[in-house]
Assembly symmetry: C2
Homo-oligomer: 152 residues x 2
């Protein structure tokens, strides 16, 4: 075998080995994205309760939760790796078959999470802030309706 061919094969083997090492375990990816959504719930829960008047409206607490929401808003999507459409997940196959729409909804959510943070940190009044919390909740629901299996 020519030296060049040998080098090519050696390179190919290294690439394949690297590919194997890099591969994310789909089960780990599922657990990861569910964990991020659990973190979202921690922040969204109290904000939603404040928006609906089930919890006293506290601007300082809101600022904390809104900041944490905006800061983590982009984290879940990297967990939707190939092969993680099956297993312990409530994701619909549409996440993978209609990815452009899923990604667009993810961007909407991130944008609205950042918008809420801006509004909380502005001189907006309580009514305006409640409305922005509602809008953020709506971006969650819109995506869940289309891309998550309904809870029974």
């Amino acid at each position: 075998m020519k030296t060049q061919t040998k080098a090519l094969i050696a390179g190919l083997i290294l690439t394949l080995a690297a590919g194997t090492a890099w591969a994310v375990d789909p089960e780990d990816a599922i657990e990861y994205r569910k964990a991020v959504f659990q973190v979202f719930k921690w922040n969204m829960g109290p904000m939603g309760a404040m928006a609906q008047g089930d919890r006293p409206f506290d601007r300082e607490e809101l600022a904390k939760y809104a900041e944490q929401m905006a800061r983590t808003a982009d984290l879940p999507w990297q967990g939707y790796v190939d092969g993680s459409d099956v297993g312990n997940t409530a994701s619909r196959p549409e996440v993978w078959t209609d990815r452009a729409r899923f990604d667009a909804m993810a961007r909407d959510f991130e944008t609205q999470a950042n918008r809420l943070l801006d509004v909380v940190n502005s001189d907006a009044n309580e009514r305006q802030i409640r409305m922005e919390i509602g809008r953020l909740g709506q971006t969650c629901r819109t995506c869940h309706d289309d891309f998550r299996v309904a809870r029974r």
Copy 2:
């Protein structure tokens, strides 16, 4: 009753009601902090594997994981609320009885997560970066040894 006394009592009732509404469910707090640690694992896993040579060293991927690690490093501790020392948790009671030391270890971890990010984004060489990943892992282990029930 004097108007002033009435107002005082009304204020007290409102404060108590607010206190009730604000109270975090300890079970939710436990689930939350476990979720944050799951997110840590997603970022720390590949970095640890790269440090140990079990995965190809990739500076771009490292930068991503290190950034996500630094960005979320302060999130778990708010989940260690009163009453969450019992239930579905591996936390030792020392988290609550030796809080100053627990908090100091939390700060060490945050500092090292940020230091790793700085080093990854500097012109440090692979050996130096591996060492900083190892140091971050060490801050995890030190705290787990003292404040988490050992895995069986």
